[in-house]
Structure formats: structure tokens, C-alpha cells
């Protein structure tokens, strides 16, 4: 077990494509870190550089304090689970899991002990004699994880391990992966494009975009305190609403002027923070779950305004409504008991304690 350090990692593929542009990241021992971001943002490239499958153009990678830039994958003491599992098709499940140990000349009974132990953790003890061909997607996934566990490596690397599974199995295996990590406590770097997976699994989430890290932090932190517009929009589902707004000096307090003559008072405790931006055109960021029907909560800083939903989506646990303010689509999350009909005006409450103001030029959250 070990910590992993990425210091100013750069990857440039031939042809000049910079896939990773200077990534700095310290991963603690036992930590579960998830790299998340849209397709093509350089997550896999970063992971493959940790694994030693891609050469590093610039920077240093250290595993357990040892710089591994020029060390081949087999000597890095890592294990990796691939999206397509990459099970050896000509070997049984047992041989697949034991392959790494056989190569390292472990004694036969030690291999057996470890494989059986991993098979017990993953509940695949009855599959050990089968070939990968005779397994379902979920079972292959387990075997691929088993192959990583038996090695007892310093670091686990996962590259979108759940993307090939159907929705139900994905949720189930997600829990399974979390359970396995709680059992073996191996330092883990996990890559996914799915923010829900990232939020549910990670001790710390690393949001990447265009080859750079946008923000690093615990899931709750990213949710409540995004530092960039990208992170604000990427984390959370349905995604945060962005509404053009002008910050104005009202009588005593600051005020946000929205299109359609909606004016929202800025919470007084934020006055000092926002004063430098008075008179600027900004973006108001508010999550659908903070834009609801009017509730009797007695909370401070709740403002109301009228809107007519154009689309109503009952989800069971909640109802989503969509409306437009001058071309910006806004989504709100209502209690399913609230009557909502397309085209009928209703009063919505916005929880301004949860608002974010974004500078549209720099993309930073103010």
C-alpha cells in the first residue's frame, strides 16, 4: 500500500495532441480517488501513465515514494481493471486470477489460498473452473477485480470498469467495489465519466477537463462549493441552472436583476464578497433541488417568483419542471404532491443560501 504522487504530469501524443497538460495530484495511502470528466479530457491517459502503459512526456510520478517514470508496469506493483475486463480467454477463472502470482513464482498453495480468499470476497467461488466465455458481464467484472485483489498490489487502477454493464448491475457492482475497498483498503485510482459513480465511490473526486484538473475535493465539497462553472455544471444531476444576472446595488443590500423583471436579494452575509462585482453581468448558478415550490421552512434568504412550466416530468420521488427565462432553460425540483401543469403559472421559491455567482469571462465561481 502506498501513496501516489503526480507532479506536473504532461502527456503529448505524437502529432502534438496534449492529452494531459500539467497535472498535480497527491493521493494518500488507502485513499479512493476518482478521476471524473467528460470523454476525451485525459482521464485514461493519466491512469495509463500511472500504470506505465504510456510514457510520460514531462513531470514525475511516484508510487510509495519511489519515482517510477522509467519503471516498466510489471515492476510498479499495481493492478488494473479495464473497461472490457481483458480476461485471458484461454484460461479458466482460477488461472486468470493466479496468472500474476504464477509469473512471480509464488508457491502453488499460496496461490490457491489467495485466489480462494479473493473468490470468497467477490462471491465467485463456484466459477473458478469456468472460462471467461461462460460468464455473464457482472461475473467477468468480478473476476477482473479478483485478478487485481489476489496480487495485493500497492495501488488499484480502474478505467471505467462499470461502463459495459447494464444500469442495474452497474449500481450493484458500484456498491461491491466500495465494499471491496473497505475490506482491502488498497490505494485506488478510479476513472469514470459518470459523476454519480464518482460521488458515491470517492473519498476525493478529481474533476478534469481538457487535460487539466478543474477541482479536487471530497464529494460534498464539490457539490456545495464548486470553484468553476465547469465543476458546478458537471457535478449534480439534474445539472445546475445558469441564469444570466446583473448584480446591482439595491437599498442597503445587493440585488440580482434577472431577465423577465425578476429581482432576487443577495443574502446579506455575502454582500462583502460580491461588492466588487456590482454592475457586472454575471451568471447565477442554482441547483434544481434549491428551486422548489414554496415551503413553510422559516429559513432566511428564500425569494419567490412566478413561472409557468413548459414541461412537467413526474419521477415518482419528485417532479421536475422545465421553463425558460430568456432562452435559458431552467429546471426545478418539486414535491410530487404539488400540482404542476404545463402552461399554468405557479410560484417558485429559490433558496439563495445555495446560490453561486459565476464570472462568465473567467468561468470562476465568485
Amino acid at each position: 500500500m502506498a501513496q501516489v504522487s503526480l507532479r506536473k504530469i504532461v502527456k503529448e501524443y505524437e502529432g502534438g495532441v496534449q492529452a494531459v497538460k500539467g497535472v498535480d495530484l497527491e493521493i494518500e495511502d488507502h485513499e479512493f480517488v476518482v478521476l471524473v470528466g467528460p470523454s476525451g479530457c485525459g482521464k485514461s491517459t493519466t491512469l495509463r501513465m500511472i500504470a506505465g502503459l504510456e510514457e510520460i512526456t514531462a513531470g514525475d510520478i511516484a508510487i510509495g515514494g519511489r519515482v517510477v517514470n522509467d519503471i516498466p508496469p510489471r515492476d510498479r506493483d499495481i493492478a488494473m481493471v479495464f473497461q472490457n475486463y481483458a480476461l485471458y480467454p484461454h484460461m479458466s477463472v482460477y488461472e486468470n486470477m493466479g496468472f500474476g502470482l504464477t509469473l512471480r513464482k509464488f508457491p502453488k498453495d499460496e496461490i490457491r489460498r489467495r485466489v480462494e480468499n479473493a473468490a470468497r470476497i467477490l462471491d465467485i467461488g463456484n466459477l473458478l473452473d469456468r472460462k471467461p466465455k461462460a460468464l455473464s458481464g457482472g461475473q467477468r467484472q468480478r473476476v477482473a477485480m479478483g485478478r487485481a485483489i489476489v496480487r495485493d498490489p500497492k495501488v488499484f487502477l480502474f478505467d471505467e470498469p462499470l461502463s459495459n454493464l447494464d444500469a442495474k448491475l452497474r449500481v450493484q457492482m458500484r456498491t461491491e467495489i466500495k465494499k471491496v475497498h473497505q475490506t482491502v483498503r488498497t490505494t485506488t485510482v478510479y476513472v469514470t465519466h459518470d459523476q454519480v459513480e464518482a460521488m458515491t465511490l470517492a473519498d476525493r473526486v478529481v474533476v478534469m477537463n481538457h487535460g487539466v484538473i478543474e477541482q479536487v475535493g471530497p464529494p460534498q465539497d464539490l457539490y456545495h462549493h464548486p470553484t468553476t462553472r465547469f465543476v458546478a455544471g458537471f457535478i449534480g444531476s439534474p445539472a445546475m441552472n445558469f441564469i444570466p444576472a446583473r448584480l446591482e446595488q439595491g437599498s442597503g443590500a445587493l440585488r440580482l436583476a434577472l431577465p423577465d423583471n425578476i429581482a432576487l436579494p443577495v443574502p446579506p452575509e455575502r454582500t462583502q464578497r460580491y461588492t466588487p462585482y456590482v454592475g457586472r453581468d454575471l451568471l447565477l448558478g442554482i441547483r434544481p433541488e434549491h428551486l422548489t415550490e414554496v415551503k413553510a421552512t422559516g429559513k432566511q434568504n428564500i425569494a419567490t417568483f412566478e413561472a409557468a412550466p413548459e414541461v412537467v416530468e413526474p419521477m415518482g420521488m419528485e417532479t421536475l419542471i422545465h421553463f425558460w427565462i430568456q432562452g435559458a432553460e431552467i429546471c426545478a425540483k418539486l414535491d410530487p404532491a404539488v400540482p404542476a401543469e404545463p402552461g399554468r403559472k405557479m410560484t417558485l421559491a429559490v433558496d439563495l443560501n445555495q446560490m453561486h455567482l459565476i464570472d462568465p469571462d473567467s468561468g470562476r465561481v465568485l
Binding site: 505524437e14 479495464f82 480476461l87 496468472f99 466465455k133 485478478r147
Partner: protein, 300 residues
């Protein structure tokens, strides 16, 4: 199969009638398939059959124009006996086997490594090289053998059986490399990467993971290399002159055709026996080939 159809009780529910009609339909398709196959079999087996009949006849019976060419009236093994007991048929056979075994071995070693490198490793000019490999295959051997004649003469290997071991790979290596590049590229790269991470060096990865998984493609290439070397005619015809150096393809015609006397019975017997090794190799490799195909499933 028919027994199960007949056993339907008369008062069975409609669903059984449906199943029965499905079965009838399937049988009709099966009959169609058999007819098509029968035509195919007749078409392709007629020449070998004619060869077999001729090889079982005495020279007198072959020369007798009044008899039916498809029927043997007094079958005899004298042609086979003559070939195996006298003359140089056995020498040619052994020569063919030696050349073919060497050529297949050399070809497979070179093209497996070449195909792996071209399919898996990106290096400067690798794509151009892969195309170039295929283009070499397109140059007809009838053009090549003129410059090759000089090369072989320069090496002092004219009329030397082992010159064939040098020459045949110029035909087999490019094509085998080409078909294996195609097959190797279809094997997910993650498989090699998983092996490297699991602790294999490049050689172990190739030997323990890649080659077993790529076996169907490798066997297809092996079959091709074998066929080309066993049946190669032009190069031995051009480069070999003395009977003790010849392989079967040219040996048969040079020994059994004297001027305009064709010893048809022996020619046919010799050709039939020469066709046996390919038959055996196909039968043997096909089993593995199909087993390999079904084991090769990687994802899905």
C-alpha cells in the same frame, strides 16, 4: 430426429402444431442445404475420383479406348507399388516434406514477430511498412524468378534443394504477415497490457497470452504457408535439375513423362499420394482451428 416429430399426440394444443411446422420448415431448409452441398461435392470430387480410377488401372486398360474411363474392370495396385519400390518418388516425397517443414517453420517465426510488431507497436513508418509487405506479395513470382536466378546462382545454390528453403519464404512471409496483422489487430490491446501489468515481460506476454489467443489466425497462416510450399511448382522447375534434388511437384512430371509418353497410371497414383499430407494437415489443424475460434471470444 424424425422420431420426435411423429410422436406428437393427435390432440395436442395448437402451439405444438406451430412447433411442428417450424420443424418442417427447418427440415426443408436442411434438404436444400444438402442438395447444394451435393452439387458442390460432385463438382469438386470428380477430378480426384477420375484420378483414383486411373491410378488403379494397368497401362493396358488405360490405353484401351473401348472401356469406360470411370470404371475399373481389373483394379491393380501396380502403379503404387512401382512408385514406392523403384525410381525416385520416395526421394521426392522426403524432399518435399523437408522443404515444407523448414519453410513453414521459418515463415511462421518471421511473420508472427513481424505481424505482432506491425499490428501492436507504433513506430516511424510502421503503416507504410505494413502496406509494403502486402505489395511485395503482389509481385508475381514469374517476374521474381529472373532476378532470383542471379541471386541463387551467386550463392552457388543452383540445383540445390535448400535453395527452395530460401526462396519459398519470399512468397509465404509477406502474405502470412499480412493476414496475421489483420487478425492480431482484432485482439484487444488491453489483453497484452493486462499481462504486462500482471508481471509478464514482453516475451512472456507474447508466449503465454498473445500467441494462444491469436492461435486461430496463426493456424490460418500456417495452413497457407504449408499449401504454398507443398504445391510450389515454378521455383523448383526453374532452379532444380537433377532428380535427387527435386520435390514432388516437379519430380513427378520429370520422371514419369518421357518425351511424349505419359505414364498416366503412375502420374495419378503419385499425385494422389502427394495430396495425402495436405489432407492430413488440414484435418488435424482444422480441429484446433475451430477449437481456437470458440475459445477466442474475448468480450461481449
Amino acid at each position: 430426429m424424425s422420431g420426435a416429430t411423429v410422436a406428437q399426440p393427435a390432440d395436442s394444443a395448437p402451439i405444438y402444431h406451430k412447433a411442428g411446422s417450424l420443424r418442417r420448415e427447418r427440415r426443408r431448409a436442411l434438404i436444400g442445404a444438402y442438395i447444394a452441398l451435393a452439387v458442390f461435392v460432385v463438382f469438386f470430387l470428380t477430378p480426384p475420383f477420375h484420378m483414383l480410377m486411373t491410378s488403379l488401372k494397368s497401362s493396358a486398360e488405360i490405353a484401351d479406348l473401348s472401356g469406360n474411363p470411370w470404371i475399373v474392370s481389373r483394379p491393380t495396385l501396380e502403379n503404387y507399388w512401382a512408385l514406392l519400390s523403384q525410381g525416385s518418388y520416395l526421394t521426392h516425397f522426403v524432399n518435399s516434406v523437408m522443404v515444407t517443414v523448414c519453410v513453414v517453420a521459418i515463415t511462421m517465426v518471421i511473420s508472427t514477430f513481424a505481424a505482432f510488431a506491425l499490428a501492436r507497436m507504433r513506430f516511424w513508418g510502421s503503416t507504410a511498412l505494413a502496406t509494403g509487405v502486402f505489395l511485395t506479395y503482389l509481385v508475381p513470382e514469374t517476374l521474381l524468378f529472373i532476378p532470383l536466378f542471379q541471386t541463387i546462382g551467386g550463392l552457388g545454390m543452383y540445383n540445390n534443394l535448400w535453395a527452395m528453403v530460401l526462396l519459398y519464404p519470399t512468397l509465404t512471409v509477406p502474405f502470412c504477415t499480412w493476414i496475421m496483422i489483420g487478425y492480431f489487430s482484432s485482439i484487444p490491446k488491453e489483453l497484452d497490457e493486462a499481462a504486462l501489468i500482471d508481471g509478464a515481460n514482453h516475451f512472456q506476454m507474447l508466449w503465454k497470452i498473445f500467441i494462444p489467443v491469436a492461435l486461430p489466425g496463426i493456424l490460418a497462416a500456417t495452413i497457407f504457408a504449408f499449401t504454398v510450399s507443398w504445391a510450389q511448382f515454378l521455383y523448383p522447375l526453374a532452379f532444380l535439375v537433377s532428380s535427387d534434388q527435386m520435390v514432388l511437384t516437379v519430380g513427378i512430371i520429370s520422371d514419369l513423362i518421357r518425351g511424349d509418353t505419359f505414364q498416366w497410371g503412375m502420374i495419378m497414383a503419385g499425385a494422389l499420394m502427394a495430396a495425402l499430407p495436405p489432407l492430413l494437415v488440414y484435418a488435424f489443424l482444422m480441429d484446433y482451428y475451430i477449437a481456437g475460434l470458440t475459445a477466442g471470444a474475448t468480450k461481449g
